[in-house]
Amino acid sequence: MITPASTASLSRTGLGWYLYGVAAADEARAPLGARLPAGAAQQVELVAEGPLVGVASRVSLQEFDESALPERLRDGTWLEEKIRAHEQVLERVLEDASVVPCRFCTVYRSEVELRRFLSERREVLQAALDRVRGKVEVGVKAFIDRDRFAAAQAKQNDEIRQLETQVSTAEGGRAYLEGRRLEQRIAAELEGFRGEAADGLHTRLLAAAEDGLALPLQAPELSGREEEMVFNGAYLVTTDRVAFEEALASLGRDLRDDGVDLELTGPWPAYNFVPEELGAE
């Protein structure tokens, strides 16, 4: 944390600026209006500096003070509210303009510092903005339903069909053992299918997008779905998304019979397609 000593003493009082993201001055429109979330209690303003605007709110520096922040970050309610507000403000801006999103909790102590950032980093911000102009990020998640996968396997795979017949005709202990064999066989098929399906999805979606990457898979506790996630990707696509959604629909129809369901999220600000770090220059 690098802070000029002269401003550090002000940090416990007064207001600072929370920066959500950066947009082009000729695209972003103010006022952002009533559809902003309650979590963004302070009004969201567009701070113009040359060709760029910072999308920012005044926030209490006490609330975001370095010494108070670790405690706040452990408060799940506070964190979720702030994180959702961050996202919703950017989504609102995205309706009118391309936007370079900042990471959570980017806070300036004064408007002067915020403006200095916008003017000193103009070139690199402009370059980041050019890359996402006319584009949005979308997420694609794929889930597999084991029962439907097993049913599909029984149709396609003679060996599995035979095993199923044996299970249904066997009795007692033998039925149990045959059942186990069938389960193991299906699990082995699923193991191979999972990777192939993920690779195939990513390759075909990438071909319909400007760029893309695979994100870590989410466990059911996070994804909120019982089915196992087999793919989680983020893609940079043109704002109209037509070509991408056609590719996705076609993939969805191909994969549905194997028990795979696709889910599209977004449009998101292009979080995954902006430079991770704007170093001090």
Binding site: L79, V107, P216, A219, L222, L248, R256, L278
Partner: protein, 104 residues
């Protein structure tokens, strides 16, 4: 296509918290030198999310259920202790761990 069924995919609305988290907390530009949030905290939160995404069961077993509150970021911990705890968690979750500084 006229209906979602025929389109071959679902559109998830509203956004799941997990999808928001993996973007807002883990991606987007970081401005070195200007950002007020302590970078160590960001790193730890990011690691915690990765842990959860990689192995929610393991993380839960170990009592890390971070939006319900936990002591992972508790004050007064020396960095050495935090790192040790982090390494334990990474090992338990089967993630690659950072090399140890001291040889043993």
């Amino acid at each position: 296509m006229s209906s979602r069924e025929l389109e071959g995919y679902r559109s998830g609305q509203p956004a799941q918290l997990a999808d928001v988290l993996e973007r807002v907390l883990d991606k987007g530009i970081v401005i070195a030198g200007d950002i007020q949030i302590n970078l160590l905290d960001i790193e730890l939160l990011t690691v915690k999310i990765r842990l959860l995404i990689a192995s929610a069961d393991k993380a839960r077993e170990m009592g890390i259920d971070w939006w319900e509150g936990d002591a992972f970021l508790s004050k007064g911990n020396g960095q050495g202790e935090l790192e040790q705890r982090l390494r334990k968690l990474e090992e338990a979750a089967g993630l690659p761990t950072a090399p140890k500084q001291e040889s043993d």
